[in-house]
């Protein structure tokens, strides 16, 4: 008996181990027609209005659709919407109806200029003149309104109360259109905004009259406007879209999604994107109208937000969502959710009734939740995931290997050294430009990125449509750097280090621990600057400490960081001078009135050519001033097993079968078209591409 424990059991275990090992070694690899994607983290939720982590948006992107989407050139195109139309209503208020009528007549008299303003119609409503424009924006409205006399200024008043205002707010709403109150917008349960005609005192008194003392209202003036400019978007929705549970998609769904986003108990991280919306409405089941409080052109892209199914969620409490929808989503996308095993995988299957195109051809997608880069690599090499985003240092190893194919695209991110512009010597533009000449960026790209990157020329990255390709990068030129520094008063001191007025040019460069690339950047900068006589001390801190004690407080000389950007041109938070307080993102303290103006204007501009020229000017101005030392835009590279997937799409009425390719937007958009070549016989007949 005891001998069995000593010898029998170990033998049994050995047998088990050997059998299981032989089984995996000998398993024939008949792959399924599936795409397996490795992810570094677990999605927090698959509810698109809650999840802000990249894993969550990656998965929910295959399950849901927005009204709009980015195409392969990262430009806005329609998705659930069939088309959309942008217009604007500009409302001017007058002292009395006579003045308004005079203005109307004046406008009628200058009909010849209507097309230049894109003016389509004008209407009188009491003492207000409502002007319809085909193109949202501020410029045309300013020109038109400039012609009128007897206008009444509008005071935008913000009210915060201790308790939800309830009846008081209802009373204010009721007096809308009564001649004095132009607009009410509710910001949250205890804050709202009222736009009132007249002087500031009058307006404040008017609002105070509505609010009982018990609410302890805090009434402040936000701004004074000459008129109301309210852009609107009318989406015409596709009528052939079905939710995964078979229910039809209608305008009720985007309307519900909007109300869920604004719900404070959801605490959606995407709420700020929708804060400029005044209201939404559904004129018909397939029309969805959005009216904005002011021109804000980046707001259009917020309708790429995934749309939620109203028929499932309306009226359900938050707790119900967590287990019943957030982990079992129903969408309209190319793939249907089937299973989520925590810390293992999320499995999706083909949606045969997908509205966009004949695909998808894949039977499903499996998102595998793995821990780290090494796990991803091990999973990729054992055919457990189908592609892997390679670190720059590993790219050359894969390039030589016949079994793999590599795809590279410049990423939408850049690395930089931020100078603290509030501290000398970095407050001197000549010094910053000298430093830009002193750093050998091509060498940095060569040794840190193994050549997989390009020198950055400012705040936008090359594959964006508003990127300015004419900005010349600063070239590595030690002599020029020395000359510029000498011009600024920095000359070599007795110990070989530059000095000015007895002060040595020495500073501390900080970055966060655990990021080897940033550490290497700091080391190269230290070496480059040493060569022209500048002493750099490098300090590294744990990420949370780095942010809390140094970055958020603006307590540093210089730091190495990077930006991963979104695909829009609005960088107000990063560069506007009003955003330079502690905890805000203009941490270097950049302040240029010209750039401030551009940042303010570009958000209100809807015309593509004007956006391109403003963005270009902004990029050039900032780059020339070097508040950051813009380093490089890294390439992102993905590796796949050769010939493991093909793309199938209709070309001239025939199926065309081509190797996979990567677009500016990566290839997530094409994943609907992937399939494994060994399954081609099960697909509709196809035509091979003609040889060139």
């Amino acid at each position: 008996m005891i001998k069995f424990f000593v010898y029998g059991l170990p033998a049994l275990f050995v047998a088990l181990i050997v059998a299981s090992f032989l089984n995996v070694v000998m398993l024939t690899t008949t792959k399924k027609n599936e795409f397996s994607i490795g992810m570094l983290g677990e999605p927090s939720t698959l509810n698109p209005i809650k999840g802000a982590d990249s894993a969550a948006s990656q998965v929910s992107g295959s399950i849901f659709n927005g009204l709009l989407k980015y195409d392969e050139n990262i430009e806005i195109t329609t998705d659930l919407a069939e088309s959309y139309e942008l217009t604007q209503t500009t409302t001017v208020f007058f002292e009395n109806e006579n003045e308004a009528l005079t203005a109307l007549l004046r406008l009628e008299a200058s009909r010849s200029r209507w097309s230049g303003w894109q003016l389509t119609s004008v209407r009188l409503e009491g003492n207000a003149l409502l002007i319809k424009l085909k193109q949202p924006g501020i410029d045309a409205s300013q020109e038109i309104v400039g012609m009128f006399d007897g206008k009444v200024p509008l005071q935008v008043i913000r009210v915060e109360t201790k308790e939800p205002p309830g009846a008081a707010l209802e009373k204010i709403r009721a007096s809308l259109g009564g001649g004095k109150i132009a607009r009410v917008w509710v910001e949250g349960s205890t804050a709202f905004e009222v736009t009132v005609l007249g002087s500031e005192e009058e307006a404040k008194a008017k609002i105070a009259g509505f609010l009982p003392k018990s609410l302890e209202p805090n009434i402040t003036l936000t701004e004074t406007q000459p008129f109301l400019a309210e852009p609107e978007v009318l989406f015409r929705l596709r009528q052939d879209v079905l939710w995964h549970d078979g229910e039809p998609f209608t305008s009720r769904d985007p309307a519900f999604t909007f109300s869920a986003l604004m719900d404070e108990s959801v605490a959606s991280p995407r709420k700020p994107d929708f804060d400029t919306i005044l209201f939404v409405e559904t004129p018909s089941p397939f029309e969805f109208r959005v009216v904005y409080r002011r021109p804000y052109s980046p707001a259009l892209s917020s309708w790429m937000m995934s749309i939620l199914p109203a028929h499932l969620l309306e009226g359900k409490p938050q707790e119900w969502w967590v287990e019943n929808f957030d982990r079992k989503p129903i969408g309209t996308g190319p793939f249907k959710f089937t299973e989520w095993k925590t810390n293992e995988y999320v499995r999706l299957e083909r949606n045969p009734t997908y509205f966009d195109g004949p695909g998808p051809w894949l039977d499903g997608i499996v998102y595998r939740i793995l821990g780290d880069q090494l796990a991803l690599r091990l999973a990729f090499e054992t055919h457990q995931v189908d592609f892997w985003s390679v670190d720059p240092w590993a790219v050359s190893g894969f390039e030589k290997d016949e079994r793999f194919e590599l795809f590279s695209m410049p990423g939408n991110s850049y690395s930089y050294i931020g100078w603290n512009l509030k501290r000398p010597p970095f407050d001197d533009e000549r010094v910053r430009i000298a430093l830009a000449h002193a750093i050998n960026i091509p060498e940095m790209v060569k040794y840190i990125l193994y050549g997989h990157g390009t020198q950055s020329t400012g705040v936008f990255t090359p594959q964006m449509w508003f990127f300015n390709p004419d900005v010349e990068p600063f070239m590595y030129d030690k002599e020029k750097a020395r000359a510029l520094l000498a011009e600024a008063g920095w000359v070599p001191g007795p110990d070989g280090i530059l000095a000015k007025d007895g002060k040595r040019f020495a500073f501390t460069l900080i970055t966060n621990n655990g990021n080897e690339i940033r550490r290497d950047i700091a080391t190269l900068v230290q070496d480059n600057l040493r060569q022209i006589g500048i002493e750099v001390k490098i300090e590294m801190y744990e990420w949370a400490v780095f942010l809390r004690n140094f970055i958020n407080k603006g307590n540093f000389d210089a730091m190495v960081l990077g930006w991963a950007l979104g695909p829009d041109y609005d960088q107000f938070q990063i560069w506007h001078s009003s955003q330079a307080n502690p905890e805000q993102l203009n941490v270097v303290g950049y302040n240029n009135p010209k750039v401030d103006r551009l940042l303010e204007q570009i958000r209100q501009e809807y015309q593509r050519t004007k956006i391109v020229s403003m963005a270009g000017e902004m990029q050039e101005t900032i780059y020339k001033q070097q508040p950051y030392l813009f380093l490089y835009v890294p390439e992102s590279t993905s590796v796949v097993w050769r010939d493991s997937f093909r793309i199938r799409r209709p070309v001239d009425g025939e199926w065309m079968d081509t190797p996979i390719e990567m677009t500016k937007a990566g290839w997530s958009y094409y994943s609907d078209w992937f399939y494994r070549p060994e399954f081609s016989s099960k697909l509709p007949p196809l035509k091979e591409p003609a040889s060139p």
Binding site: R270, V322, E381
Partner: protein, 320 residues
């Protein structure tokens, strides 16, 4: 005995709460905080951060947060900051995987520890025994994660077999047996690596206790009776020597449930250890509070169990 158990239980309860306070302070005072969208995100306004902090009581004083967490823990309403699901559900769904892995690893270390210990004891003093001792200490000393990575990379480079998770992906299994052997492999691999240190430790225990037993009077008596050496060793010496093995089971309780942080994370294995590891990285305070509480409780319970088992197995021990 009952008295002893009750007294120990009372002391343990107090102790568990003290541990929970200390561990809560350690978690909450560490730099950083829960931040699902990443710092320096231009899209996140202070209002959103405020909404988020309110939602999870992060705007309250620390003692209040502790009390709220404890209240929710005992009423079962404790919710994770990461996905807002009840923490108890998050723990329960990972329990089967962890139990499987640890049951396998613990039995493996006991079984092979016994084999190795017996083997070494029978050769006590020989060169082979010395070499095996060195081997055992080397295994105990080697860091588990290092061994794990070496084995993983070696296996992938030379055999190309899948090594991560709980099953192979993207393939159709020809038979039911293949599917289950595949699953077994995904327990066997991390489990064996997890057990390596345990095997070495157990083998040392067994060897020492067996050798000690061999010097006892009853062994001399048995030999004097003229029993064959075989019988003396297995029936008389070994039977008495395995007593520490049985009592040791009590102290294995926390390991059984708590799981292994490092091995589970390396093998992308969906267990409690990985839950804890990720909760630390995400600063998911409610999940950490629950995990700490459970593991601390299990450790104290395990110690108590060990003492009781000791008294049960060995009549010479009395619990007062």
């Amino acid at each position: 005995m009952l008295n002893f158990i009750l007294r120990r239980l009372a002391i343990s309860t107090v102790l568990v709460f003290i541990i929970s306070i200390i561990s809560f302070l350690m978690i909450i005072l560490a730099p950083g905080g829960p931040n699902p969208w990443g710092e320096l995100n231009p899209k996140i306004t202070p209002q959103v951060k405020e909404m988020f902090r309110k939602k999870f009581h992060l705007d309250r004083p620390i003692y209040e947060q502790y009390l709220l967490n404890m209240r929710d823990l005992f009423t079962g309403r404790l919710k994770s900051i990461k996905d807002e699901r009840p923490v108890i559900n998050r723990i329960l769904e990972r329990l089967p995987a962890t139990l499987t892995l640890n049951l396998y690893a613990i039995s493996l270390s006991l079984v092979f520890g016994l084999l190795w210990g017996v083997w070494a004891a029978r050769r006590a003093g020989t060169t082979a025994d010395m070499l095996s001792s060195m081997g055992a200490f080397a295994l105990i000393a080697l860091p588990g994660f290092w061994v794990a990575y070496l084995i993983l990379i070696g296996l992938v480079n030379y055999t190309g077999v899948p090594v991560l998770g709980t099953q192979s992906y993207g393939i159709d299994f020809p038979t039911f047996a293949n599917r289950w052997l595949d699953r077994l492999w995904h327990v066997v691999l991390p489990g064996t690596i997890l057990a390596l240190g345990g095997i070495a430790v157990q083998s040392r225990y067994i060897r020492a206790t067996v050798l000690e037993a061999m010097h006892e009077d009853y062994i001399r008596t048995a030999r004097a009776k003229g029993l064959p050496e075989e019988t003396v060793f297995y029936k008389h010496a070994l039977r008495n020597a395995v007593r520490p093995l049985i009592t040791g089971i009590g102290s294995l309780l926390p390991a059984l449930i708590g799981g292994s942080l490092i091995i589970e994370t390396i093998f992308a294995y969906p267990g409690m250890g990985r839950l804890g590891y990720e909760a630390v990285l995400e600063r998911d305070y409610p999940t950490l509070v629950a995990l700490n509480f459970i593991v601390a409780g299990l450790i104290l319970l395990g110690n108590l169990l060990a003492d009781v088992l000791y008294a049960v197995v060995d009549p010479r021990v009395r619990l007062e």
